[in-house]
């Protein structure tokens, strides 16, 4: 199987209520870039949760990195989760840890030596423009800074799959453009990226497949291109992003 993610007739129901996701079928190729859109309550976050293994579907088949997650023993999902990066809509930074420690988490949980952790985290925080805020705790950071910490945490372990839920929802256009530049750069290195967003300016004319969720059903539009047509200029930043 070449797909990095494959959904076959997946349905999701919470409790005994109606299905919030119905017959979802799609596949994502390695190194591809996708947008996931839909009105509020359409099920975007639920779909993302299934993809980053925080939720099991009620029915259907889900393959992540070629593994059928419905039959995969729980202990084996660990290695899959470590290959996935997630940028949460509400950041979900740990407020008692500094920006440095938040970003270092994905490396520390794998047992990497602290010297190496320090090196990689410092490099990345400089790259996202937070060199002077390494020891700051999230509550003291602005929304844009927190967003960059969250993104740095999601990408520090060089994930093969990156999910971002409304990554530009809390920031201005300039920061949003810079964030998209980060995702583009990551995608160029081979990471498959899925961005859930309401931002039509971002999805329109991006040249990427757009997965639209409505009423629990999924419709895919747009060409199935591997490379992303840069969306930075769509967000108002024509300059080469300097962060």
């Amino acid at each position: 199987m070449n797909d990095i993610i494959r959904f076959e007739n997946v349905g999701l129901r919470y409790g005994i209520g109606p299905e919030v996701l119905q017959d979802i079928s799609f596949d994502l190729k390695p190194g591809s870039f996708h947008f996931l859109t839909g009105p509020s309550g359409a099920g975007k976050s639920s779909l993302l949760k299934i993809m980053y293994l925080a939720l099991r579907p009620s029915r259907g088949l889900v393959y992540i990195f070629g593994h059928d997650i419905s039959t995969l023993p729980r202990k084996n999902t660990l290695s899959l989760r470590r290959r996935i990066g997630v940028v949460f809509q509400e950041f979900r930074l740990l407020s008692h840890l500094s920006a440095f420690d938040n970003v270092a988490l994905p490396l520390r949980v794998t047992g990497i030596r602290e010297a190496n952790v320090r090196k990689h985290v410092e490099e990345l925080l400089v790259w996202v423009g937070l060199k002077d805020h390494m020891d700051a705790r999230p509550p003291t950071l602005s929304g844009g800074q927190q967003q960059r910490v969250a993104i740095a945490r999601a990408v520090i372990a060089r994930p093969k799959l990156l999910f971002a839920d409304e990554p530009t929802g809390n920031v201005d256009d300039q920061i949003a453009a810079r964030i998209m530049h980060l995702f583009e750069e990551l995608n160029k290195t081979g990471t498959t990226v899925v961005i859930a967003t309401h931002n039509k300016a971002m999805t329109n004319g991006s040249g990427c497949p757009v997965m639209k969720l409505e009423g629990g059903l999924l419709k895919i539009t747009g060409p199935m291109k591997k490379k992303l047509v840069s969306v930075r200029h769509k967000l108002g930043d024509d300059k080469k992003a300097t962060i």
């Binding site: 925080a54 660990l78 979900r92 794998t110």
Partner: protein, 292 residues
């Protein structure tokens, strides 16, 4: 002292409550274990001291001369018996000292009819018993009293055994209560740390990684609480010893905790820390198993 933790335990109130509870449990356990050791020593000491002893009492007769003759005759009969290792009369002053805890100064009154007491040491392997002595002495001195200490020793040993069971039950109850409380506080703590745990889980933390952090904290709380419990219990143990010693040794045997007892009391601290740590570890793992 603790390694870096990704989980914020500073805001967790269970960390304030648990050491006090553990301190109380350790305090009870320390008293119970000390009691077990002391009782065991008492049983052993009394057993070795009195198991081969018999007391012969010759009641006071109408005249001192008769008293003297009866005592001499009793000693002669006792010393002639095979199996009697020693038969020594207790002096009048010695008997008065024995009676002092009960009678006070009245024990020294000359008008007080104090019986003659003979301490007899026998060799039970020679097939001699209280019955043998009574069979020999009663025909000559019908009102003589022969007491085998073993009878009341057995009664005392049974009583001590019952107290030991109670003490052991207290230690067991303390352990179970500690385990139950730790399970409850761990679940509460996990509820408070739900967001952090979920984030760690999503980014790929192994269940053991998360459980280790809770377990290390539990061990530290166990040590803190245990030390507090020991610090309170040790002076109390010394105090008990002082009070009992000041009552005089006639009514109570000497009570002291030897090295093994003290070591056992001190070992309560690491034991309770390990129990807390293992309980928390398994509780956390079990809870995490419900995560996808």
């Amino acid at each position: 002292m603790l390694q870096r933790s990704d989980i914020s335990f500073d805001t967790d109130d269970t960390g304030r409550f648990l050491p006090w509870l553990i301190a109380f449990m350790v305090f009870l356990a320390a008293l119970s274990i000390s009691g077990l050791f002391v009782l065991s020593d008492i049983t052993r000491n009394l057993g070795s001291e009195f198991s081969n002893k018999i007391t012969v009492q010759i009641p006071v007769s109408r005249s001192l001369k008769t008293d003297g003759l009866r005592k001499t005759e009793t000693l002669r009969l006792l010393r002639a018996l095979t199996g009697v290792k020693q038969a020594d009369p207790l002096s009048t002053e010695g008997v008065q000292e024995l009676l002092k805890p009960w009678l006070g100064d009245a024990a020294t009154l000359e008008q007080l009819p104090i019986p003659s007491v003979i301490n007899v040491e026998i060799d039970r392997t020679k097939n001699i018993s209280v019955k043998t002595l009574r069979a020999v002495l009663l025909p000559k001195i019908p009102d003589i009293l022969v007491d085998d200490h073993r009878e009341w020793l057995n009664y005392l040993a049974n009583t001590i055994r019952s107290i030991e069971i109670i003490a052991f039950s207290i230690v067991l109850l303390v352990t179970l209560t500690t385990v139950g409380t730790v399970i409850f506080t761990t679940r509460t703590s996990m509820g408070l740390q739900r967001e952090t745990i979920n984030v760690l889980h999503v980014i790929g933390a192994h269940d053991h990684y998360i459980a280790n952090q809770f377990a290390i904290r539990a061990a530290w709380l166990g040590v803190k609480g245990g030390m507090l419990g020991i610090i309170v219990s040790v002076p109390l143990l010394f105090g008990f010893r002082f009070v009992i010693a000041s009552l005089g040794t006639h009514l109570m045997p000497e009570i002291s905790l030897h090295a093994a007892g003290w070591v056992s009391v001190v070992l309560i601290v690491p034991t309770i820390a390990i129990i807390a740590m293992l309980t928390v570890y398994t509780t956390v793992l079990k809870s995490l198993a419900s995560l996808p």
